[in-house]
């Protein structure tokens, strides 16, 4: 199949996330990934990227927006999520699996993206993240 591209623009509102994720999933069905990888790994990974962009990247500012760029081809989906914030250092986030962090209610979003997607790349500024999920590679679960 030829690669397919789509762009979604979201208001900076967490109530917009679920609908955006379902629209993205609809765009990605042609990649023919196993159902649970699209319906679970991709949904969770994209939800994390969007909530990070809205709550932390854009700081909850209702004037800002979030952009999702999708590229879909057979056996692979790529989603780039970009906010209008100043960025951050994703490597500075502590490991939520450390014993002292397990009882914390926060700090698992980036870890889950990395665990569930095959690739997670940030741009240099840290305000844009690209998620890649492929068929036949061992991203959990």
């Amino acid at each position: 199949m030829n690669p397919r591209a789509a762009v979604l623009e979201l208001p900076n509102d967490i109530s917009a996330i679920e609908t955006a994720v379902e629209r993205a999933v609809d765009c990605c069905t042609t990649a023919r990934l196993a159902r649970n990888r699209l319906m679970f790994n991709f949904r969770v990974g994209l939800t994390e990227a969007l909530s990070n962009a809205i709550l932390y990247g854009n700081g909850g500012d209702p004037q800002k927006r979030v952009r999702v760029e999708l590229r879909v081809r057979s056996g692979e989906v790529r989603a780039r999520v970009t906010d209008e914030g100043k960025g951050f250092d994703p490597d500075a986030v502590p490991d939520p699996r450390l014993p002292e962090n397990i009882p914390r209610p926060d700090g698992r979003g980036i870890f889950l993206m990395r665990a569930l997607m095959d690739e997670v790349h940030y741009n240099e500024l840290g305000n844009s993240v690209t998620l890649v999920l492929r068929e036949g590679t061992p991203a959990a679960p």
Partner: protein, 109 residues
Amino acid sequence: MTFNVRSVGDATVISVDGQLIVGNRQELKQKVLAELERGARRFVIDFTRTGYIDSSGLGILVSLSRSIRQERGDLRLASLNDDLRTLFELTKLDTLFEIHASVRDALAE
């Protein structure tokens, strides 16, 4: 997505129909804390009809577990499918929560 609350004996069972994510986590928190305020102490959250949970959903479960334990109560999780169970294992939250195969099992023990 909805949260249905029902009483089974002295336990309060809350089912999560749909997603437990950043957009609806506060609704679950309010429902559980309202029951805690009314005197409920045994809670089971039923994930039979749950599609996915994000880190905010996991976080609200951690927060509720703490609130319930502070009132000498008990929170159990039930009926997680393989994907959801893997989420708890990946984050090591399976060491924090009591996870049961079914609501019946969670209520029996």
